[in-house]
């Protein structure tokens, strides 16, 4: 519960004849995490590994084609079938069916694309011809006049002035017929004898003549009518083609889904085989299994192949285990908080998994800052709606966190006696923050000291588990750091409490000095314990200066980390302050407490839930990640992704 699941390393030596049956067992159970084992014996003479690579590539290509077809038809992947595929599918048995469906789909898709393009072109022509709709003249008379050079076309608006300037030495007529922000439909005409000048000028000003097919004859209005008619025809064709496509989808969707999963599971098996090591007559399979599932897996492998040699090595949590995949498995309730933890980092093997702590601490801090019965319940309801995918389905994983924060805010609301910002409607079971500012700030710092100390202790436990003795004893967040931190707090307490302090001040000063020196020279001591030589790199003088500044930095960070928790109290106070501001505005809007008063209260509450709720969420995240996790949590673990065609249950 407090650590990632225990893992066992497993090595199999599989005879070639049992290769497929063992691989199917491994991929079917969903518990085997495959590690690469590219070892290949020079004597390996049986099936060349390239054959498996080629088969993988062929399955992958077929899978892509099926997915493309499904995308064109709007068919989803569906769920993996409940039954297991007994054998690997032969590509040649599936390919003809894929070819046939692909051909049918492509035929309709191409025709659809062609019709769409036709519509686009005709609409483009319409845009160019519409300005001429009122001209009762054959279009050919404008396009090909007998005695004039004439060009009707479109050009960039920015070139118009330049075109007119360039023609200053000859007579011409230039009329912009329609102009939008960048394009103009224009008519340029001049004497036939100047056609070359006009032609060059028009071309260099990017005046593109209207590309109207010769078949379009008559007046512009007649052509526009025909174009509209043709666009309608093309749209009708598209509708008909869409019906055909829909029929294809109904006819083939189940078959496509079934083929997809067959091909995908076969691709997965060959993909796994490619990553096996190869010996002369056998294959070497290496990977990891969650220890609790090992016995069952071993039994299944033995049933599939009696001659397979199985070797297992349970992995202890101590020491460095960077290569061990990390399987986190928490209940549904804790999974949203697991997501918050893995966003920061995945614990490494042997490191504490802080999900449970997060599940307690996060809502607690949030609730303390946002304590309000009414707003908390609204937030909890919102979280529930998100978690159950009734709204904002893409954020479902956050729903649980929001719901927990909302419930915690509700509890703190009772403790603070606050409901929708009203501070005196229900009795405060504990304290009213706005009326006890210094008390609440002091409590917040006290809570911060406890949480930080917990962070130190967890860091010490992690270092002890990892047998990292240097870090355990001398690190800033190890025993030396913790003693230094507590002795600093002791010093402050001895000044405040004077004679009531149970420990004499000289003892605290001595502890602070010794632990401070240990923290200051932590690098030296850690290198000494770990056996690194030289224990000091570079000159002694530079090292001492550096060590002094490290001590100074540690002191500052302890101070700032502790004071950081003031914000918990400050936000609790600010919540009350913000509510008072809303009430003030409401009074201004409606002094006799009419409808206006309640509208302002309603809008104010929505604003507080949205705005302050978000800010408090960010602050809680900061306190958790930076102030708390930073003390003990390193992360860097590898995600456990077992072989399976089903998505993993984790996360």
């Amino acid at each position: 519960m407090f650590y990632p699941q225990e893992m066992t390393e497993i090595e199999l030596i599989v005879p070639t004849k049992d290769l497929l049956s063992v691989t199917k067992v491994l991929s079917r159970r969903g518990v085997f995490y495959q590690a690469d084992s590219y070892y290949s014996s020079p004597e390996a003479k049986t099936t060349s590994p390239n054959v498996w690579q080629e088969r993988t590539a062929a399955y992958a290509a077929l899978e892509r084609r099926i997915l493309n077809i499904m995308q064109s038809l709007g068919v989803d992947e569906g769920n993996p079938p409940s039954h297991e595929f007994e054998t690997m599918v032969e590509i040649e048995t599936i390919r003809p069916a894929v070819d046939e469906i692909e051909h049918e789909v492509k035929n309709i898709s191409d025709r659809l694309a062609a019709e769409n393009k036709k519509i686009e072109q005709m609409q483009n022509l319409l845009t160019q011809l519409e300005p001429l709709a009122g001209i009762e003249l054959e279009i050919n008379a404008i396009r090909n006049p007998h005695y004039l050079y004439s060009v009707l076309g479109t050009m960039p608006v920015s070139n118009i002035d330049r075109l007119q300037t360039s023609l200053s030495r000859i007579p011409f007529v230039f009329t912009p017929l329609r102009t939008d922000h960048s394009t103009a439909v224009v008519w340029l005409a001049g004497l036939k004898s100047h056609d070359e000048i006009l032609e060059r000028a028009a071309r260099s000003a990017y005046l593109n003549p209207i590309n109207l097919p010769e078949s379009y004859e008559g007046t512009p209005a007649e052509i526009i009518r025909r174009l509209n008619q043709n666009i309608e025809d093309a749209r009708r064709s598209i509708e008909a083609l869409k019906v055909d496509m829909s029929q294809l989808r109904t006819r083939h969707d189940k078959k496509l889904q079934s083929m997809l999963w067959e091909v995908r599971s076969s691709r997965m098996v060959t993909d796994a085989i490619v990553r096996y090591g190869r010996l002369k007559y056998t294959y070497l399979v290496v990977g990891w299994v969650v220890s609790s599932a090992l016995a069952d897996l071993e039994q299944r492998i033995r049933e599939a192949s009696k001659e397979t040699i199985i070797e297992t090595h349970p992995v202890h949590r101590g020491g460095q285990n960077r290569n061990v995949p990390i399987a986190l498995r928490h209940s549904k309730l804790l999974r949203p908080f697991q997501m918050l933890v893995t966003t920061y980092g995945r614990p490494s093997y042997g490191e504490l998994d802080p999900t449970i702590l997060m599940a307690v601490m996060f809502p607690l801090l949030y609730g303390a800052m946002f304590g309000d019965v009414g707003q908390g319940l609204v937030l909890a309801l919102l979280g529930w709606l998100i978690a159950t995918k009734r709204i904002l389905g893409g954020m479902a994983s956050l729903g649980g966190v929001i719901m927990a924060c909302g419930l915690s805010a509700t509890i703190f609301g009772f403790l603070y006696g606050s409901i929708f910002g009203f501070e005196h409607v229900i009795p405060a079971l504990w304290i009213i923050p706005v009326e006890n500012i210094l008390t609440i700030l002091g409590i917040a710092i006290g809570a911060g000291v406890i949480l930080l100390s917990l962070g130190f202790i967890l860091g010490i436990i992690n270092a002890w588990k990892a047998r990292d003795w240097g870090r355990l004893l001398f690190d800033h967040y190890g025993i030396a750091g913790l003693v230094f931190y507590w002795s600093l707090i002791g010093l402050v307490a001895s000044v405040v409490l004077r004679d009531q302090m149970p420990v004499p001040q000289p003892v605290i000063v001595a502890l602070a000095a010794i632990s401070g020196l240990a923290v200051m020279f932590s690098e030296f001591f850690i290198r000494l314990v770990e056996g690194h030589r030289p224990v000091i790199e570079g000159s002694l003088g530079v090292y001492i200066i550096q060590a002094f500044f490290e001590l100074f930095e540690t002191f500052i960070s302890f101070l700032s980390n502790s004071l950081s928790y003031v914000r918990v109290g400050a936000f609790a106070v600010a919540h009350g302050g913000l509510s008072s501001a809303i009430f003030l505005l409401a009074e201004l809007a409606s002094p006799d407490r009419g409808v206006g008063y309640w509208i302002v209260i309603l809008i104010g509450n929505i604003f507080i839930i949205g705005f302050e709720g978000l800010i408090v969420g960010i602050q809680t995240m900061r306190l958790s990640y930076y102030e708390f996790f930073g003390k003990f949590f390193r992360g860097g673990g590898m995600r456990y992704e077992p072989l399976t065609i089903r998505p993993t249950a984790e996360e």
Binding site: R203, S204, Y206
Partner: protein, 338 residues
């Protein structure tokens, strides 16, 4: 920032480099070191080295844009887009010439993730029309779509390049004119200087090299600038004597007549003279009141010239027969001892 540009002593030392390898060794000990170190020693061909040193300009632009006041950022970003326009032209040229991505990638300006161009995909499409279609969601699509009609008919990317250039400078000029006070004065001077140089070179080249008609020259050039006006461009387009026009615009330029007696040879030299004028204008931006956004622009322009010079130097030093004429093609380092 100004101090990170090369001093005259540093330029002299670079000229003295015996060959390409010793030039690179020297550059590795300069501000360009970290950029050159990003490439493996064996991959550091002259083309790759030139690509790597351009990364310094990318860094300079991105950090200056980040640090600049909110109001100046769009303008600096617009200026930075000039490299994207150049990249786009290079990609289109590459596609039209049928060369591979590997040959083009290190010619491009290293914009990293700061670009909207899917350059590699465009190159791999192998087709200008398909490549332009990939730009649908970018500011270049509309400009290119007008020019594509001509590309389809002529199979020449010239109209595409001209359309991109004209659109870029027009938009930049419009933005600069929205500035006010000292900011406007400084930007008009530097950006206007660049437009003058480009516009003049385009007009002369279109007439001399491409034999375009008067109308085409006018349509392929811009009607504004700092010193070069519409009447100058139209005069060149209409066939006026080019040295006379240039002399009228820049009375202080030395030997314009003899320089342009043979325009094909004289044009590159005229271009260098104009670049040096812009360099001087950039340097002048550092004098007097420093509270204007012309200062970062001037620095970036000087850095661009420095990198252009280094590219010339890299190419010259990597040539089998070192041609000392390369000095004529340097903007910043032309004063170094011969």
């Amino acid at each position: 920032m100004y101090s990170t540009l090369f001093t005259q002593q540093q330029w002299d030392a670079l000229y003295e480099a015996a060959d390409y390898n010793s030039l690179i060794t020297q550059l590795k000990h300069s501000e360009y070191g970290p950029y050159l170190d990003k490439a493996k020693e064996k991959d550091l061909t002259p083309r790759r080295a030139a690509y790597q040193i351009r990364e310094r300009l990318t860094d300079a632009y991105t950090s200056i844009i980040r640090m600049a006041p909110e109001s100046a950022r769009p303008l600096l970003t617009h200026r930075y887009r000039n490299f994207e326009v150049d990249n786009l032209k290079a990609v289109l040229r590459g596609i039209a010439a049928g060369v591979s991505w590997d040959r083009v990638r290190f010619i491009l300006f290293p914009l990293g993730s700061e670009t909207v161009l899917p350059a590699q995909e465009m190159m791999e499409s192998g087709n200008v029309a398909a490549a332009v279609e990939m730009l649908r969601a970018t500011p270049y699509y509309e400009t290119l779509s007008y020019a594509m009609t001509r590309y389809s008919a002529e199979k020449n990317i010239f109209p595409l390049e001209v359309a991109l250039d004209l659109n870029y400078w027009r938009e930049l000029w419009k933005d600069v004119n929205h500035l006010s006070g000292e900011d406007r004065k400084q930007w008009l001077r530097i950006v206007g200087g660049l437009i003058d140089m480009n516009n003049l070179m385009w007009a002369i080249r279109y007439r001399v090299y491409h034999n375009l008609s008067e109308e085409e020259v006018v349509n392929y050039t811009l009607p504004f600038g700092y010193k070069v006006g519409d009447k100058d461009i139209r005069a060149i387009a209409a066939g006026s004597d080019i040295p006379q026009v240039v002399k009228r615009i820049y009375p202080d330029l030395p030997d314009v007549e003899s320089l342009l007696q043979e325009p094909r040879k004289g044009l590159p030299a005229l271009e260098m003279l104009l670049k040096r004028r812009i360099m001087q204008q950039c340097q002048a931006a550092f004098l007097g009141n420093p509270f204007h956004i012309g200062l970062p622009l001037a620095f970036l322009q000087l850095l661009e010239f420095e990198i252009q010079d280094l590219t010339v130097l890299i190419e010259a030093k990597s040539a089998i027969d070192l041609d000392e004429d390369f000095r004529a093609y340097l903007v910043m380092g032309q004063m170094a001892k011969a």
